[in-house]
Symmetry: C2
Subunit: 241 residues, 2 copies
């Protein structure tokens, strides 16, 4: 269960673009100028407040997008995963969020203007990119609903089920679980909890026979029961196309 | 301070499109087929789970977009305001959210396919629409950060400052305050609090000399102090163009 074994060589192979683009669309995609870059763990790839001038397609590793508050706290908004796009405010103006690597990370990058160029050139590519942006919005909506209206236990379960499902869609997870390098601090900053509270929630999910999270991997013990318990409906994760 | 006095007659006059579109772009906008519709208060305009086939530009009144949970609870994600676009998942698939009128509401509606058509026809219009979608994402990000990492008092202040700023940008608020038909239940469902807690937070904001919310209107008592207290930086609300 390593990411390397599932690496894709070109941006065209990213999950977001595996939607039946024809040769002409693929040529347009190539012309956008995506370049593969590697970042070490804990690197600031794009900083909140800076002019946002790039879009990214995740190639390997884990990153997070987060808001940084003036008191030094951060709220993690999402973890962009393999094959997914990062384009938080790609059209103009300051980035509302920081994009930070959690592990060593590789990503395809292109100038943000490429997105508008793509829209003008290829309606199919436009639909795919906009669909990907809409899917990320749906993910944010679920994370917001987690924080506002789901219990600490259910929101923990919901997030882990979501991450696993997204990795499965990118062929980067097994049905029985997935590698997850996130710490309890990362989960805490995502779930609006303390790390101690997250620890307690993970223990309870194990004691209830739903999942085990140890040694950097999530193992489902009863995935169907967990999905039912968390009210997890993966419809919002459907890839466009 | 009524909305009617600031009504705009055509969709071209919406704040989102007041960005220097030329005659050609305006002709494209006209050709998208926006039609003005009126809804009574508390009408379900689009329901979570239904095929999302329309985009909206708010014309007057207040609505909310929300997720509805299986236990009957709801999480309000945002209140689309005059001149703003509602296009939660406009490209394909089920709507992740419901769109509900809070008051009597009028909105311009067009088929969602119009959005893709616009993108293909007019790069300027494409940039404006995508910029509007990115702005709404930035608003969601702030609401998520409110829930996860801001205290109940600060998140209440932050939301009210944001709504006032957005209304000002649409010429639908005065500098000293704005009409706000939201109940404490609406605020509770937005802020992840109980209505009683919201009531207490509003009282504290008044007692601290920041704002007063009564008779359906927010009156700033010390707006600058409130912005400072809430760490409110309106940069994320900048309209595209």
């Amino acid at each position: 269960m390593t990411f390397a074994s599932h690496a894709f060589p070109t941006v065209q192979e990213a999950a977001v673009f595996r939607v039946g683009l024809d040769d002409c669309d693929k040529a347009h995609l190539s012309s956008l100028g995506f370049v593969l870059r590697r970042y070490p763990a804990h690197a600031v790839i794009a900083r909140q407040g800076d002019e946002q001038d790039r879009i990214f397609v995740m190639h390997s590793g884990w990153g997070c997008i987060c808001t940084e508050l003036s008191d030094g706290e951060r709220q993690i908004l999402d973890f962009p995963l393999k094959g997914e796009i990062v384009a938080s405010r790609p059209f103009e103006g300051e980035a509302a969020e920081s994009f930070i690597s959690q592990t060593e990370l590789t990503a395809f990058e292109a100038p943000a203007t490429a997105l508008l160029a793509a829209l003008a050139r290829s309606p199919k590519l436009a639909a795919v990119l906009l669909g990907a942006i809409a899917r990320q919005r749906a993910i944010l909506v679920q994370h917001l609903t987690n924080l506002g209206r789901r219990s600490a236990l259910i929101r923990t379960a919901h997030l882990l089920l979501e991450l696993g499902t997204r990795l499965e869609m990118a062929n980067a997870a097994k049905r029985l679980g997935f590698e997850c390098p996130l710490t309890q601090y990362d989960l805490a900053d995502t779930l609006g909890l303390t790390a101690i509270h997250v620890n307690r929630m993970l223990r309870e999910l194990r004691e209830r026979g739903y999942l085990e999270f140890r040694h950097g991997a999530v193992h489902y013990l009863n995935k169907q029961g967990l999905e039912c318990f968390a009210g997890f409906d993966p419809g919002y994760l459907r890839l466009p196309g």
